[in-house]
Assembly symmetry: C2
Homo-oligomer: 366 residues x 2
DNA sequence: TTGTATGCGTTATCAG
DNA sequence: CTGATAACGCATACAA
């Protein structure tokens, strides 16, 4: 049970004052090159690491940021998205010696309570906020608390889901307060353009009836994807009756149910676009069960790629995103905000459509 | 941007000393019921929360525990196991006002480095350790650092994989140091008995040739499952040539490859047991691709249930565990250890085999 | 039962 | 350039 060395130990051993050690170790002027090197060496020898509590107490930052995942237990755990995101986040954070506090709760009220507690306890210097909503209470709360934050997944609230959708990049101006100035940084993916790619792919194959099995209706990106689908359909003169979205809770159960429902319609779609991989896999299973050939009679596309999309039969055409890269970008932005950079909206790499075996031209019979 | 209240504010407002406030708020004797109530009320009004840094610095604990996930990026993110585990862990931790530091790294050396850093920085009061290995450097490191810990997934090291396997419960005495005393608490699931259930189910259906598509060979529970399979086969007089395990890295790719390999043998197995859900799903896809009927010509069982197992066609017979409950148990045990309780090994609820459509009697042709 | 003094490890502000 | 000294917020041994 080793004892942890302190700067006092280093000072004694190096024969200097404690403040000299502090200066040397924090790259501040006020100490000669020579002693700085010596102090560094001693610290290294002793395996010294700053005591995070002491550092936090003396007005510095806590050296930790938080991430809360508010999801009903049901939809939790099958999606590949989050661990990949977290993995990317940590690549950046741990390089900057920042720890990540992670909490999963079952609703947005609990999430807000966590922010309040972390703030009151001074536990975190900032937070990463996921799943922005069309009507989101969190930016206002975080602004009031003065807790630096980055919205992951794009802008939300007043300026976010601008409704016009469709054309790439519109409305993505980041989170604003009443005055129109950005109050929160955000990183976002261009869902509108991604949806446009998907529609283009399906339209090019000859599909004219497309159903979008969307995720939770309250989420901002769900709204953006739905708006984009409408806009793309309109641009191609497609019948809005036959190109539309149905919302779900992202679970395999609702994904399967929605699939069954649209396939049972008198004029069923010839292509389905799923808002996550789990629902797409469920959709494949439903088609198999109903004896409907994929892609023979129905084409399927998954939003977000994962191992799942490659183990189905047929393998799923998917919208590939660099999720870990998205996490890295978000973490970088949060570190920048903590360092004093003004809020901004940063766009991640474009999603890329990877055609596999689940999409093909619709059969002539239809 | 509200200011955070301190005990000084409370003391002033309640007209008492700071120490009285500290006593009152920490349920210590030395303050009258009356003033205690008044202080409590004022603290409530002001929305006071203890500053975690100050508390940590003054010798108390940091109020945080850590969890490191060391997985190659590849196998990360499709398994349902971890988020569920974490979700259970947090139910208990947040009730006890303990935060969770979460870190994902890509190997065990990096994991050990994280423990060292957390310890040196005094960031955590204890850690939850997952994926115990047959030859595990972590218990020794943690013991040397004096960092309280709970091994999740059973004992490891000297006493753990006792090799005899088979009969339920043996060798599960927890982590020991040289002297034979427990040095680390652990929570474990009875993999041996679970495997026995699976074998019993398959044997009962008439299967005599079983392949176990196991996970990472270095993990303790992999060793336990393999040992149990051997023992169960022997107990039933089955040919060890035809009842055996092959190891993988848990990925869909290796799961698929292993499936292909064993199915191509001259005398292929009639039943496959997969060590996780992802590989089982991959196995289903391989069978579909090869035109081998499931469960007609081959039966399949998945270890760990998830939405995945219910969206395949046919749906997968699975070994259902209460993963969140497992997490709760682990967190409870860690809190107990932090409160001074001696190390012990706690067994979680028995896994339960849920027969679905992927298992059936082997065809007579075989 | 209550108030006072001190320490935890660091950073920051002063004098030398 | 260096060395004392005071915060930071809380806990606690001790004195009143």
């Amino acid at each position: 049970m080793a004892r942890r060395p302190t700067i006092k130990d280093i000072a004694r051993r190096a024969g200097v004052s404690e403040s000299a050690v502090s200066f040397a170790l924090n790259d501040r002027p006020g100490v000669s090159q020579d002693t700085r090197a010596r102090i560094r060496r001693v610290a290294e020898e002793l395996g010294w690491q700053p005591n995070s509590a002491a550092r936090a107490l003396s007005g510095e930052r806590s050296g930790a940021v938080g991430l809360v995942l508010a999801r009903p237990a049901q939809t939790l755990g099958v999606e590949s998205f989050f661990l990949q995101l977290v993995s990317g986040i940590q690549e950046v954070l741990s390089a900057g010696r920042v720890a990540l506090l992670f909490q999963v709760v079952d609703g947005i009220d609990a999430e807000c309570a966590v922010y309040r507690r972390w703030w009151a306890e001074r536990r975190v210097d900032g937070v990463l906020v996921v799943d922005p909503r069309t009507d989101d209470p969190r930016p206002e709360l975080l602004a009031r608390l003065g807790l630096p934050a980055v919205m992951i997944g794009g802008a939300s609230g007043a300026s976010g889901a601008s409704g016009t959708g469709g054309v790439s990049g519109t409305g993505e101006t980041g989170e604003t307060d009443g005055s129109g100035a950005l109050s929160l940084s955000s990183v976002w993916a261009d869902d509108a353009r991604a949806m446009a790619q998907v529609v283009e792919h399906l339209y090019g194959l000859g599909h004219r009836r497309i159903a979008h099995i969307a995720g939770l209706p309250g989420l901002a990106h769900t709204a953006r994807r739905m708006a984009s689908l409408r806009a793309e359909a309109e641009a191609r003169g497609l019948d809005p009756e036959h190109v539309r979205s149905v919302v779900t809770d992202y679970s395999d159960a609702e994904g399967a149910a929605a699939t069954r429902r649209v396939l049972a319609e008198p004029e069923p779609p010839t292509a389905l676009v799923y808002d996550n991989d789990v629902m797409a896999v469920a959709g494949i299973a439903v088609a198999a069960e109903l004896g409907i050939a994929v892609p023979g009679r129905i084409s399927m596309v998954a939003w977000d790629d994962s191992a799942l999309c490659r183990v189905t039969h047929p393998r799923l055409t998917a919208l590939v995103r660099d999720t870990a890269g998205f996490g890295r970008l978000a973490a970088e932005e949060l570190l920048a905000v903590l360092a004093g950079s003004p809020p901004r909206a940063r766009e991640s790499e474009q999603p890329r459509l990877e055609p596999r075996e689940s999409t093909a031209p619709p059969t002539a019979a239809y």
